[in-house]
């Protein structure tokens, strides 16, 4: 991977990194795990003039408890997420979604922020982040802001991030009440693949075991991850019984707006995304019920 004049810089602060990006007059890219970026460079689909490596900025590779929830730094690799007991207890669906990215080797580098900013409609971890109602913290030339994950991608390869802005962390909210999430992806193989479709479901149970809150997100069936409120409405107030989950399946299939491509037909995606949603909801319900059992 040789390039004429590409610069590689590894600043020590976010402000400095944002400034470098803002001042760059060519193609500039943030390098975290690099598992998308380096592949694109090798395939000659992009030839950046500037790479800003954020791995050396303090906090970027840390997972910390914050406001009852969790802060995951932008360069935390999937392998660290998978081994974090606190995250796994609160957000098992987010953890399993992060673990879907790539392979064992890729997990040593790949970050969920990178997965989000790459803005693929098939991003493995984004449906789970949306179902979790996760937010991201952003630093840019004008300072720091935060916004919901779902507001970042706007289409394949496109985000709402402004020039010079860097996503520095994912913020997972505090769990209120008894709840759990789950995420399932369909691929023809068992790993190292791009989602044909995926679904993430996050549920909260009240003391009687009824679903009091839910979020349902679908991946790879539209230009962006879909948050299906109608599907969540079906779950709320139910005991997540079989009939409810079958209605969820049907609503999710209807909500999907997939396309035909080399990875699957639209017809197949529409049908299977419903199956993934139903199975994910059942898994989330089982996890939440198990937690309720532990408390009782």
């Amino acid at each position: 991977m040789e390039s004429g004049n590409m610069r590689y810089l590894a600043p020590k602060t976010v402000t400095e990194a944002a400034q470098l990006l803002a001042d760059s007059d060519g193609i500039a890219r943030v390098l975290a795990g690099g598992t998308d970026l380096l592949v694109q460079m090798k395939a000659e689909t992009i030839a950046p003039d500037l790479l800003v490596d954020i791995k050396h900025i303090p906090g970027m590779r840390e997972i910390t408890a914050e406001a009852g929830g969790w802060r995951i730094g932008a360069a935390v690799p999937g392998a660290h997420i998978s081994e974090h007991a606190g995250l796994k207890a609160d957000w098992p669906g987010v953890v399993e979604a992060a673990a879907l990215i790539g392979s064992t080797q890729v997990q040593g580098r790949a970050s969920i922020v990178g997965n989000l900013c790459n803005a693929s409609p098939a991003a493995d971890s984004v449906p789970a982040l949306v179902a979790a109602d996760a937010r991201v913290q952003i630093t840019g030339p004008k300072g720091t802001r935060d916004c919901a994950v779902i507001e970042i991608p706007v289409g394949p390869g496109k985000t709402t991030l402004q020039r010079g802005e860097i996503v520095t962390a994912v913020l997972l909210p505090a769990r209120t009440g008894i709840g759990a999430d789950a995420c399932l992806r369909f691929i023809p193989r068992t790993e190292m693949d791009i989602a044909v479709c995926s679904a993430a479901v996050n549920v909260t149970l009240d003391e009687s075991g009824r679903c009091s809150a839910a979020r349902v997100a679908l991946g790879a069936v539209a230009p962006v991850v879909l948050l299906v409120e109608e599907a969540a409405d079906i779950l709320v107030g139910s005991r997540l019984d079989r009939a409810t989950l079958e209605r969820l399946q049907s609503v999710c299939s209807k909500a999907a707006r997939p396309i035909d491509d080399k990875r699957g037909t639209a017809e197949f995606r529409r049908e299977v995304v419903g199956v993934m949603a139903r199975r994910a909801a059942r898994l989330a319900a089982e996890r939440a019920t198990a937690k309720a059992g532990e408390k009782a």
Binding site: E2, A43, I194, V275
Partner: protein, 746 residues
């Protein structure tokens, strides 16, 4: 046929499992692959490829590229002009388009520059004026009357009138009265089955380093399955005598038949000649998919008649294969192999080769056989289902055996099909219970195997250790197997023998590492070279003892007097004879040259269990067992590895692998992300049962084992999926959308 070679004996080394001699180099990175070759002052070569599936090249303007600082040479088809005829011309035109771009990815120009960045920049400056022509990438469309003519001038006399000019050859095999046979059947089933083009999927992309001197002598380092053939092709393309070009094969990161020809090597040589400097050319993965040689795709009509009790009365097939824009004979192998497992009174196969705007196919493990046998084994199973018969019993009832006149002509000698079927029948796998959504499939497989031109030299070094020099790249552990055969024959430990693969100037001609030929043919030549060396060792011992040469025998690595009359001497070990060799006539060596015959066909039977998710169409392979006749397993680890590797590739063909072309004629999935070969977590441990029915044509009974293993999985998996979902698919790959659709349509 050499059928008197085999001699029963007890083995010391053969059949054991020593540590592979190339293992440490490969896991530590010390092994040198195609892209690892370097020379001082070498340039970087890069190829410009056509984005169009079919176009006339009106002109190519290379002036701006040639003028770029750092560019040392530019070549186009014009540099390869006036090239001879036949296959070498096709290879050259495939390496660099002459006047037409014939497929998406066809090379149209190349540059050599001082850096990769300059080379890339130079490619952007080359202006190609294309006249885009109508294209065709699918078999039926290419055969249709009025189809765009892909590449004119290849139609052979065997093709009857009335076909599209894209149909270049017709092959026919068989015997007996089909009409009478079908009349005797209680059930006749006729189906059309299709398979997709698949790539060999070797990990190492094609790579070479070429250095042409001003005196017309050259050197080439490349990853290849056959450097002698590389030399032959490249010398002819470069217009030089073979001896002027020395080719050295690197370690090889997989080939599976795909590296039996050249793609970038002639381009690198031509760039080097023009630049006056060495040129390294390494294909990217994208280039490997678009412009090296995948295998054919196929459409096959099969019709088989069977009696109520399971006897096949007649069988016929028409096979239509496309292998890209150049002619090939893969469909002939398919037509020969289709019914090889059966003893048939009436059989006929007809094969047609069809040109399309796709890359020139290359060999892929048992070329042409997997798709043909998939079609036949699917219909045989369907007949068994319809007639309520056990598919294994039916195959035993109709199995080819010694004395069977094969469907492609010759009469079989000792073959292992019945033994493999019986081993499968007796195995616990065949009777293991199945759960819901699970199914079991069975298929036979076959490959011809090959012997061929082989030259081996064996030298006894001064300390009595042994070097074997052979000329076939080691693609499946052949250095280990060959060293084992030398050790066995000489009666010395395996560790005292080192086998190396020498360059083209070091030995007589060696055919390509293909046709599962190396362990058989190079092994045979090694044994004979060792016997020649043993004879010399005995002669030297006789000199040392002062007795007649005939009075000395060889045993356990030592010369011994042949009996009490020869005199009483302590056995002389090989190292003592070697050390004294300067005083008994000089170095001790043996060599053997042969065009080996009697390779001995190989049969296999595969059993496969699957579970299909009825809501997604996802197939999981639960259990897989292979039964294959190896004649004699020299190093059983490698034999098992060949069997397992073939099965895994065949599972890939069955489930997910396919070349996907868009309406624009461009390849949609030129990378391993969307060209889905099985990954380790997709597979169970693959169980192997090696049968040893000695091949009469080899001193130790060896049969080639490299190719048969890829043949049965297609139908074994398809039959298992049919069993699991209760309906049959007639097209590969059986990707989840296709399976789910089949389930929905019942």
């Amino acid at each position: 046929m050499a059928l008197d070679e085999y001699e029963k004996r007890d083995f010391q080394v053969i059949g054991s499992r020593p540590v592979r001699p190339d293992g440490i180099d490969k896991v530590t990175g010390r092994a040198l692959y195609g892209a690892d070759a370097v020379l001082p002052g070498m340039l970087v070569g890069k190829v410009l490829r056509s984005p169009h599936p079919h176009a006339r090249i009106r002109s190519i303007d290379t002036r701006a590229a040639a003028a770029l600082n750092g560019v040392r040479a530019v070549v186009t088809g014009a540099d390869f002009g006036e090239i001879r005829k036949g296959e070498t011309r096709n290879v050259a035109e495939n390496a660099m388009a002459f006047d037409h771009a014939l497929y998406d990815g066809h090379a149209v120009a190349a540059v050599a520059a001082t850096s990769e960045a300059v080379a890339r920049e130079a490619l952007k400056l080359i202006e190609v004026d294309y006249e885009v022509l109508p294209h065709v990438t699918e078999i039926a469309a290419a055969m249709a009357p009025g189809a765009p003519v892909v590449h004119a001038g290849f139609v052979e006399d065997s093709v009857p009138d009335g076909f599209s000019e894209n149909v270049t050859a017709r092959h026919e095999f068989g015997h007996g009265d089909l009409e009478a046979g079908f009349a005797r059947a209680d059930k006749v089933i006729a189906r059309t089955l299709k398979t997709a083009a698949t790539h060999q999927g070797y990990i190492e992309p094609n790579a070479c380093l070429a250095s042409m001197g001003p005196d017309g002598r050259g050197d080439l380092w490349c990853c290849t399955q056959g450097h002698y053939f590389v030399r032959q092709l490249c010398a002819e393309i470069m217009g030089i005598e073979e001896s002027r070009l020395r080719v050295t094969a690197s370690e090889i990161g997989g080939g599976f038949g795909g590296k039996t020809t050249v793609f970038v090597e002639p381009v690198a040589l031509m760039l080097s000649k023009k630049a006056g400097a060495p040129v390294k050319l390494v294909m990217s993965r994208n280039e490997v998919f678009r412009a090296s040689g995948p295998t054919v795709s196929s459409e096959i009509d099969v019709k088989i008649g069977m009696t109520r009790d399971g006897r096949i009365t007649a069988a016929e097939a028409e096979l239509r294969y496309q292998g890209g824009a150049f002619p090939n004979i893969t469909v002939m192998f398919g037509a020969m192999a289709a019914f090889a497992a059966y003893d048939l009174g009436a059989v006929r196969t007809v094969g047609y080769n069809v040109l399309t705007n796709r890359p020139k196919q290359a060999a892929y493990r048992a070329p042409g056989a997997p798709m043909a046998i998939y079609a036949v084994e699917s219909v045989v199973n369907e007949l068994c289902e319809e007639l309520g018969l056990d598919p294994l019993e039916v195959r035993l009832k109709n199995a080819a055996r010694k004395g069977t006149k094969s469907s492609y002509g010759p009469t079989f000698n000792d073959i292992g099909l019945v033994a493999t079927l019986e081993a499968a029948q007796a195995h616990p796998h065949y009777r293991a219970p199945l759960g819901p959504n699970q199914g079991r499939g069975l298929s036979c497989g076959f490959w011809f195997n090959f012997g061929g031109n082989t030259s081996v030299s064996l030298s006894v070094d001064m300390d009595g250790s042994v070097s074997v020099t052979e000329g076939n790249p080691d693609i499946g552990g052949s250095r280990a197997s060959i060293a084992m055969m030398a050790a066995e024959e000489l009666g010395i430990p395996f560790e005292r023998v080192r086998a190396i693969v020498a360059d083209t100037a070091s030995l007589g001609h060696n055919d390509v590492t293909d046709g599962s030929r190396v362990t058989f043919a190079v092994g045979l030549a090694t044994i004979k070279a060792a016997r020649a060396a043993k004879k010399e060792l005995c002669k030297r011992a006789a000199m040392m003892w002062g007795i007649d040469e005939e009075a000395v025998t060889w045993e356990n690595g030592c010369a011994k007097p042949s009996g009490p009359n020869a005199g009483s001497f302590e056995p002389l070990p090989i190292e003592k004879i070697a050390r004294k060799s300067p005083r008994t006539g000089g170095p001790i060596a043996g060599h053997h040259e042969v065009n080996a015959e009697g390779a001995g066909v190989s049969f296999g039977v595969h059993l496969c269990d699957v579970e299909v998710d009825p809501e997604t169409g996802h197939t999981k392979i639960l259990r897989y067992t292979i039964f294959q006749d190896a004649g004699k397993a020299i190093h059983p680890d490698y034999v098992e590895g060949q069997m397992q590797g073939g099965a895994v590739q065949g599972i890939g063909w069955a489930l997910n692998e396919e070349y996907i072309y868009g309406k624009d004629g461009r390849l949609q999935n030129p990378g391993f992300l969307d060209y889905r070969i099985p990954v380790a977590s997709d597979l169970p441990d693959i169980d192997t049962v090696i049968l040893e029915i000695p091949n009469p044509g080899h001193p130790y009974g060896v049969r080639g084992v490299g190719e048969t293993g890829i043949v049965p999985p297609l139908a074994a998996v398809s039959n298992a999926v049919s069993h699991a979902i209760g309906t049959r698919l007639y097209e590969l790959p059986m990707s989840p959308p296709k399976i789910l659709k089949a389930i929905r349509e019942g």
